[in-house]
Every structure is written in structure tokens, then in C-alpha cells.
């Protein structure tokens, strides 16, 4: 009865409508109880975007386009995640703090944490329900998406690091309060680069010159070898014999390099051992002057350095071209796409750096952490500039996306989440958690109970629908069976909700008993019921 061909995650219409509809209604209801309206809505939208990115990264038909879009969408997803968590914390913190008394700290913290968890739960629920419509949560897609986001983060990370280093070095160099560091760096740099690019005039520097000559010759030889010069010449009889010429030049270069490499230590020994005067006496006058002129000329050194760079650049470029030509355009596109996306993200972050940082500063000033803003944020902005700060925040947000994707991948890989029902499981878990934490806020009881029952209904309808789609197919008329099954689940949930209300009435009615004793009693009852159920199974 099983269909072994492909992993079928489609479910029939009725089940899908139940899953999406119940999730939407409950998320709307739960988010209404959270004060941070905008952050909550952004969080919900992020769930949809994350599901869309997962689908795009596994889009076989237009792989390069899908990868670019998924990579570029990583920024809104990251921003959304940060706003949902950090933004909620900031907004709610501004409302709740400062507290009036010491005893009010704990409830305020609990309220804050609950609201954040409600927003996160709704985000997960929206993501799960959207992903369940197409069945996009499978381990392959999540792995691909994780790879895309990691590669997207590379470009902003490198740029942020470079800007940070430059800012730090500038700060250190400009700041006279730290002479030690600056002098140390300066001295080290001078000592290393001086002999290479700035030789002391009037004496021979054969060793270093030979080394530089060897490097340049080797790089030029590699570059010449890589270039397809002989292939570009037509194979007619009156064509110039490029092959022979190129081969001869290459051989010359290689031998020059080898000889220079051999000569370097010998000459170095001579220079160190003999000293300049004995060398001047040993060699004929004209020769000595020539050697001094050649090896001490900074222009020649510069020329050799540029030749070395050119040769290396040509070799690398030809290697890259060869790899690119041998694969299809789509494949090259999909490999390069995340870096392109990362570049776009970097440019976007740099473009909005100023206003973004201003907005963050203003938001932070409204919270009790205003003094910290003045102490820490302002100097950092002065030293590094708003672009670096924005890029750093972007990179941190992208890291959070990577970590979320990684957790999802681990859950799938360890079969904690089954691929077939991953979407609905996440949706149900999100709704359940959000409802549980919403109970601590001023949410009406019926909404909490509706959320709990609704979470179970979503999971049940989703997994039942997936099994139905696999066994009977989505084309057959199965509405009656699905409605009967869902109706049964809702009825049992209703009984459970009634039992909950009854129990909570009893617990409230037992005012004579101290609350802690009542709580302990309930816990004991709970353990007993769990044991009973385990025994029945």
C-alpha cells in the first residue's frame, strides 16, 4: 500500500486548509495579546519569508535564480528574527522598566520573557504552516539553505573585519595615548618591508634581489604556461611558430629563476662574510658599481614585484576561467550566487548605515539602558563609523539565522523531526509554546485553551492528511473521512478543556489550602496519571 517512489508530503485540501486556517486564526489571536505590535507582525512575516527561502534554495528548475533570491532574502529574514527577539525586548523593556519596587523585577522579567516567547512561537508556527503547504522542510533543502546563508555571510563578514581593522589601526595610530602599540607595529612593518622595497643605497643587496628575481621569474613562467597562446594561433603552415618561441621564453625564465634561487644564499654568505670593502676589492671596479646600481635601485625592485603580481594574477584568472567554462552556466551561477547576494547585502547595509544606526540609538535611549548608550555606543560609533557598526550587526543577525538553520538541520538529521510531518510539527509546537506562555500575560482563559487544543488539532490534521495523501492520493475524494477525524480530535480537545476548567475551579476553590500545597498536590496527581497512562500502554 505504500508508495515507495518519491517522498510525498502533499496532503489533501481539507487537511491543508485546517492546518493553515487554524494556525492563522490562533496566531492572530495570540499576537493581539502581545504589546509589541510591530515587532510581532514582523516576526510573523519572517516565518513566511523563511519558508519561501527554503523553497527557493531547493528550486531545481532555476537553480541560480533561486539561490540568488534565497541569499538576498537572508537579510530580511535575519532582520526579522532580530526585530522579533531583540526588538520585542527593547520595546517591552521600555514599557516595563524601570520598575517601581524590587519585588516587581521578577514579574516584569517573566512578562518580558513570556512575550518574547509568544512572538517566537508565533514565528515558528507561521513558518511551519507555510512550509507544510509545499512540504519544503527536508534535510536536503535545509542543508542547502544553510550553505547558502553561510556563504552569503562571508562577504559582509570580510568587509566588516577589514573596516574594523582599519578603524582600529587608525585609532591606534592617531591616539597618542598608546605609543607602545603604534611604535611597535610601525617598527615591525618598517623592518620587514624596508629591505625589500627601500634598499640602502651604495651597497650590494644581491641576496634579496636574487630572491625577488627568482619569485618574479617563476610567477611569469607560470603565467605564460597558463595562457593558451599556442592554441590561439591558427594551424596553418604560414603561421608564426608561437610554440617554439613561447617554450624558449618559458625555459629561459625558469632557468633564470632557478639560478637566482641558487645564487641567493651564496651571495648572502659572501655579503655577510666579506663585507662591502673586500667585495669592492675582489671584483673589478666597473662590475662592482654595476652590481650596486642594479641591486640597490628601488625602481627595479618595484618592477620585479609588479611582474610577480601580474604572473600570479594571470595564473589565477586562467584557472578560474577554466573551471567556469567546464561547468554549466546554471551551476556557475548557483555557486557564485551567494557571494553576489552577500555583496548586495553589504551594499544595502552600508547604504542605510546612517539612518539605521540613528534609529537604533534613539530606540535604545528610550530604555533604561540610556546611560550605557552614552558610555559605549557613542565612542564606538566615533571610532569605527556607522558602516562598520551596521555591518557588524548584520553579520550577527545572519549568524542567528545560521544557528536557527543548523538547529533545524540537526533536528532533522537525528530524526527528532520526521521529514514528512516536519512542517506541521513545527507549527503545532510553535502554537503550543506560544499559548502556554500567553497564559502568563493577561490573555483570556478561553484563548489559551483554544490555543492548546488548536495546536493539537493542527498537528493531528497535518499528519493524518500526510498519511492519507501517501496511501490514497490527493486526487481521491476524502473530505468526509478527514472531517470526521478532525471532528473527533476537536471533541476530545473540548473534553480536555472542560476538564481543565473544572480542575482550575477546584484549585481556586480550595482557598483554605495554601497555594504551594495545592501546587504540590496537583504535581503528585500528575505523576500518578502519567504512571497510569504509561502502564496502560
Amino acid at each position: 500500500m505504500d508508495d515507495h517512489t518519491t517522498l510525498s508530503t502533499r496532503m489533501p485540501w481539507t487537511s491543508l486548509a485546517t492546518v493553515v486556517g487554524v494556525t492563522a486564526v490562533l496566531v492572530a489571536g495570540l499576537l493581539g495579546t502581545v504589546s509589541a505590535d510591530r515587532a510581532a507582525i514582523v516576526g510573523a512575516a519572517t516565518g513566511v519569508l523563511l519558508a519561501l527561502s527554503l523553497w527557493l534554495s531547493g528550486w531545481d528548475r532555476w537553480q541560480a535564480v533561486g539561490t540568488v533570491l534565497a541569499s538576498v532574502l537572508a537579510l530580511p529574514v535575519a532582520v526579522g528574527l532580530s526585530v522579533a527577539t531583540g526588538g520585542s525586548v527593547v520595546t517591552l523593556g521600555a514599557e516595563l522598566f524601570p520598575v517601581s519596587s524590587q519585588a516587581g523585577v521578577r514579574p516584569a522579567v517573566v512578562t518580558l520573557v513570556s512575550q518574547v516567547f509568544v512572538v517566537l512561537g508565533c514565528l515558528t508556527a507561521v513558518f511551519g504552516a507555510t512550509a507544510a503547504t509545499r512540504g519544503v522542510v527536508d534535510i536536503e533543502r535545509v542543508g542547502t539553505y544553510g550553505g547558502v546563508v553561510v556563504r552569503t555571510t562571508v562577504v559582509p563578514f570580510v568587509v566588516a573585519l577589514a573596516l574594523f581593522t582599519r578603524g582600529a589601526v587608525d585609532f591606534l595610530q592617531s591616539n597618542a595615548d598608546t605609543p607602545g602599540v603604534q611604535q611597535l607595529t610601525g617598527e615591525v612593518l618598517t623592518r620587514v618591508l624596508g629591505p625589500v622595497f627601500d634598499p640602502v643605497p651604495g651597497r650590494t643587496h644581491i641576496a634579496i634581489f636574487s630572491l625577488l628575481l627568482a619569485l618574479a621569474a617563476a610567477a611569469l613562467a607560470r603565467g605564460l604556461d597558463a595562457l593558451p597562446l599556442s592554441e590561439l594561433v591558427p594551424e596553418t603552415s604560414d603561421a608564426p611558430d608561437i610554440d617554439g618561441t613561447v617554450g624558449a621564453v618559458e625555459r629561459t625564465l625558469r632557468w633564470t629563476g632557478r639560478l637566482a634561487l641558487l645564487a641567493a644564499p651564496v651571495a648572502g654568505l659572501f655579503e655577510l662574510g666579506l663585507g662591502q670593502e673586500s667585495m669592492a676589492e675582489l671584483l673589478p671596479g666597473g662590475l662592482y658599481d654595476l652590481i650596486v646600481a642594479v641591486t640597490a635601485a628601488p625602481g627595479l625592485r618595484g618592477l620585479l614585484w609588479w611582474l610577480f603580481l601580474t604572473g600570479t594574477a594571470v595564473s589565477v584568472a586562467v584557472w578560474f576561467l577554466r573551471r567556469a567554462v567546464q561547468s554549466s552556466a546554471d551551476r556557475v551561477g548557483s555557486v557564485l550566487a551567494p557571494y553576489v547576494g552577500g555583496g548586495v547585502i553589504t551594499l544595502a547595509a552600508v547604504a542605510v548605515a546612517g539612518p539605521a544606526v540613528g534609529a537604533i540609538e534613539m530606540a535604545l535611549r528610550a530604555t533604561p539602558a540610556a546611560t550605557a548608550v552614552d558610555q559605549l555606543l557613542a565612542p564606538i560609533l566615533d571610532v569605527y563609523g556607522p558602516e562598520t557598526v551596521t555591518l557588524a550587526l548584520t553579520v550577527v543577525a545572519l549568524f542567528s539565522v545560521i544557528s536557527a538553520t543548523g538547529q533545524l538541520w540537526v533536528a532533522l538529521a537525528t530524526s527528532y523531526l520526521r521529514e514528512r510531518t516536519a512542517g506541521v510539527t513545527l507549527a503545532a509546537a510553535g502554537l503550543f509554546g506560544a499559548s502556554a506562555f500567553a497564559a502568563t500575560l493577561s490573555t483570556p482563559t478561553w484563548l489559551v485553551l483554544a490555543g492548546l487544543v488548536g495546536a493539537v488539532v493542527v498537528w493531528d490534521a497535518g499528519s493524518f492528511g500526510t498519511t492519507l495523501g501517501r496511501e490514497v492520493g490527493t486526487g481521491a475524494a476524502t473530505r468526509r473521512a478527514e472531517l470526521v477525524h478532525t471532528g473527533g480530535t476537536v471533541a476530545v480537545g473540548g473534553v480536555g478543556a472542560a476538564a481543565t476548567l473544572g480542575l482550575s475551579e477546584v484549585a481556586q476553590g480550595a482557598v483554605a489550602v495554601a497555594p504551594s500545597v495545592a501546587v504540590a498536590g496537583l504535581v503528585v496527581c500528575l505523576v500518578a496519571v502519567l504512571a497510569l497512562v504509561a502502564a496502560i500502554r
Partner: protein, 462 residues
């Protein structure tokens, strides 16, 4: 097969989660709310498929003996004969693997009250041969889907679909045949019809002496009658790869239809004591039990023993060749004929390497010509998907064999490709007719008997 599905075990984790959150946030409502997941766990643990469950299934096939290429409606009725309501019953009918479902779906999921029944209807495309339906697979689940029972339910009613050649009427009943199996010739010898007289030679058979003349004139003369030569009828079935094309998936191939027509004619002829030889062209050695002849033809001689059984084997081999090819390239035929068109094997699927139509150098054609007895009537069955049958018919006409070409029409559909293929086929049939053969264009909407009857008189008159 009884299986318990632990669907609701997540409820325990949910209960623990609620307990920890309630302790963390000091919210007693959540502690009471653990009743919800626990009730679900109990719901799953306590539900069982009721023991008095009983189901019965009955199948009815609309046409037990269809013609190939015709959709056949199948209905499966499932009745809950037990005493309890079944909320989730899933049934998959055992459609034979070789038949394709062209309409509806053989799968169903529904709920049944006691004595309620539900009907599942779908249509399959008939193919030549006998196919038996398997038992229906039924799975019953409880409302909580935590307990399930799976059985293979034997289905009462029609269990087989036969698309074969048993003839209910004799197509030759009203055809006038002067001499079945004989052909009057122009040479004199022993026979029945008067031809000429000649003077008596010693050694002539005594029963041919004209005694009346002897009584009148006292001369001995011998009567020569028209010699009647036994005429062989040879049925040639074109089963080469270019003929194994279908206009739609699930439809029988041109080769299978040709074999079907040949089998009908073979039965009709054997009923009137004409024994025909059968030859199938284009089969591979593994299709025919016993292998092919040394010239690559599957030939059944009329005068050999068990000719009918061997002929039946050859016809079955054609179907087997088509099934073997379609199993190897499941989408090949459908792709080639996907636009409902051209039975030409052009383009991608170059799995066959026949020449474009069979020139006179074609080895199959030469083998057939070599095997034919010196006087024979030849009936060629071919869908005329390429020029090979036309070459064969014109070669036969040149050698003075009376030839008939029976061609099933494969072109269906309104697409441009179908129109082009149809026109090409008509052109080939016209060329065959011009070369002197009798052409029977079998339009699949009418039975082969009607098409053959009209021309059988031609087949055996001179």
C-alpha cells in the same frame, strides 16, 4: 495485520513542558491545562479497532470481453457488514499491473456505518490477453488513528478481464467459397471441373475414361479436369519495432492489433478447414519459446503438427515483444506518440535501427519472400507505420502472389502530427492498392469481423 501506531506519545512531552512552564511562571492554569495533552494520550491509548469488524467487497466489470483499446468500467462496492461504525476505511483495488487506469482512481477513503456501502468506480484500458484482478487491500483505522488493521480482502464478483479471440459468430457463414482451400488452375489433370479431352494414353487412370464417348464411337479418350492445386494461405504479421507504436498510453500497439486481426482470421479459416501458415516478422529470439528460425522469422507451417497451438504461441509472442519493449522504455512509446501522432520512429528514441521503410534489400522482406511457397495467397497484417509493408506487398505482387493488406488504423486525436501520420498512412495504403493488392483499412471503431467479411469473398475467388 494489526498494528498499533504510537501517534500520541508527544502528549507526554507536551504535559511535561506545561508543568515546567507553569512552575517557572507560577501560573496554575497551565498546571490544570496538562489535562489536555493527557486526555489525548489516553484517547490514543484506549482506542481499539472494534472486534466485530467485517467488510465485504464485490466487483463488477462492465464488459467482460472488450476489444483492445476500449476503456472498461470497473466498479468495486464495499459494504460494512459488521456491527460497528468504521470511521476510517481505505481501500485500494487490485488492478492488474499490465492494465492502465485511464479514468478515476482505484483508491478510496471513507467512513462506513453498519450496513452502509460505498462504490468505487474507475476505468481501465483493455489490452489483448487475460488479466486477473488481485484482492483489494483494505486498511481500517480507529478515530484516533492509533490502531490499524490491514487485510487483503478477497473480492466477489468479476475477477478477470479477457480481451481475446474467442469468436461467437462465424464470419465466414455467408461468404461463398467455391472450393475451400483449393484454387482452380488452368492446367488439366485430375479434378472436378471439366477442362478438355485427349486420346487415351496407356497408364491413364481408368476412372477418367470418357465411357459415353466410347459407347458412341468406340474410341478411348481421357477427360482432363481442371487441376486443383492446394492453395496455401500465409498470414504475415508485422511485429517489427516501428509497428509497435501506440497513439496513447495504455492503448494496444499496432503490432498487437495486427496479431489480433490475424488470429481472428486464422480461427475463421481453420473453422472452414483452411489451414493457414503464420509468420511474424521482427520478433527477437527471447520473445518466441523455442527461438526463431535460422532466417529470423517466426514461421508456423500449416502442414506441421499442432499448427494451431504454434500459431497461438506466435500471436502471444507479439504481445510479449510489445510488453518487453514497453517495460524497458516505459515512457518511450508515450513520448513518441505523446502528441497523439506520428507512429514514425524519428528523433530521440533510437532504440530500433530498422531502415526507414524496408527497401528491397531489407533482410526481413527477403526472408519472407524466400519462405513463401510457390503458390500462396498472402495476407499481410500491418499498421503501415512505415514503408515496409508497402515494399512487401509490391514485391509479392511482382511475383504474382495474390495479396491482401489488412491495416489497423492507429491515428487518433486532432493534433497536427496525427493528421500528418494519417495522411502518410493513407498514401501508403493507396500505393499498396496500386501495386495490385486488396487493402482492408480497419477502422478500430468497428469490429475486425465486419472489415474482414467484406473482403473474404475476394480472398478466395479467382
Amino acid at each position: 495485520m494489526h498494528r498499533r501506531v504510537r501517534r500520541w506519545s508527544g502528549g507526554l512531552a507536551a504535559a511535561l513542558f506545561l508543568v515546567s512552564v507553569s512552575l517557572l511562571t507560577a501560573e496554575p492554569l497551565l498546571l490544570a491545562a496538562t489535562a489536555i495533552p493527557l486526555i489525548y494520550v489516553a484517547y490514543g491509548a484506549l482506542s481499539r479497532v472494534p472486534p466485530g469488524t467485517d467488510l465485504q467487497a464485490a466487483r463488477s466489470v462492465s464488459d467482460a470481453q472488450p476489444t483492445p483499446g476500449e476503456p472498461v468500467e470497473v466498479e468495486l462496492t464495499l459494504t460494512n457488514t459488521g456491527s460497528s461504525s468504521l470511521t476510517d476505511v481505505r481501500v485500494i483495488d487490485g488492478v492488474p499491473e499490465e492494465l492502465a487506469v485511464v479514468e478515476g482512481s482505484p483508491r478510496l477513503c471513507t467512513s462506513l456505518r453498519p450496513n452502509e456501502s460505498v462504490t468505487l468506480s474507475y476505468a481501465v484500458m483493455a489490452k489483448r490477453g487475460t488479466y486477473t484482478f488481485d484482492a483489494a487491500a483494505v486498511r481500517v483505522r480507529t478515530l484516533s488513528a492509533s490502531d490499524e488493521v490491514t487485510v487483503d480482502l478477497p473480492v466477489a464478483g468479476d475477477g478477470a478481464l479477457t480481451c481475446s479471440n474467442t469468436v461467437s459468430e462465424v464470419p465466414m457463414a455467408d461468404a461463398t467459397l467455391p472450393r475451400a482451400g483449393t484454387l482452380p488452375t488452368d492446367t488439366g489433370g485430375s479434378g472436378l471441373e471439366f477442362h478438355s479431352t485427349r486420346s487415351y494414353q496407356p497408364g491413364d487412370p481408368v476412372n477418367r475414361i470418357d465411357w459415353r464417348r466410347y459407347a458412341k464411337t468406340d474410341e478411348l479418350t481421357t477427360i482432363d479436369y481442371r487441376e486443383e492445386q492446394a492453395v496455401r494461405t500465409v498470414l504475415v504479421v508485422d511485429a517489427r519495432p516501428p509497428a509497435r507504436v501506440t497513439p496513447e498510453p495504455g492503448f494496444p500497439t499496432g503490432a498487437e492489433l495486427s496479431a489480433y486481426a490475424a488470429e481472428r482470421l486464422f480461427d475463421a479459416l481453420s473453422r472452414t478447414s483452411v489451414v493457414a501458415s503464420v509468420c511474424a516478422v521482427g520478433l527477437a529470439a527471447e520473445d518466441v519459446p523455442g527461438g526463431l528460425g535460422p532466417d529470423g522469422l517466426a514461421w508456423v507451417d500449416a502442414s506441421g503438427g499442432h499448427a494451431a497451438a504454434h500459431a497461438r504461441q506466435v500471436f502471444d509472442s507479439v504481445g510479449r515483444a510489445a510488453a518487453r519493449q514497453s517495460a524497458a522504455t516505459p515512457a518511450g512509446d508515450a513520448d513518441v506518440s505523446g502528441d497523439g501522432s506520428s507512429p514514425q520512429p524519428q528523433g530521440g528514441d533510437a532504440r530500433v535501427t530498422t531502415a526507414d521503410g524496408g527497401t528491397i534489400e531489407d533482410p526481413d522482406l527477403l526472408a519472407v519472400l524466400a519462405r513463401l511457397p510457390p503458390t500462396a495467397q498472402v495476407v499481410v497484417f500491418s499498421p503501415a507505420a512505415d514503408d515496409w509493408p508497402v515494399s512487401l506487398v509490391s514485391s509479392l505482387a511482382v511475383r504474382d502472389y495474390p495479396t491482401t493488406l489488412v491495416s489497423p488504423s492507429l491515428t487518433r486525436g486532432d493534433s497536427l502530427g496525427a493528421a500528418v501520420a494519417g495522411t502518410e498512412r493513407i498514401a501508403r495504403l493507396q500505393r499498396a492498392e496500386l501495386s495490385g493488392a486488396t487493402v482492408i483499412d480497419w477502422d478500430l471503431d468497428s469490429p475486425i469481423d465486419v472489415a474482414l467479411r467484406a473482403s473474404l469473398a475476394d480472398l478466395f475467388s479467382v
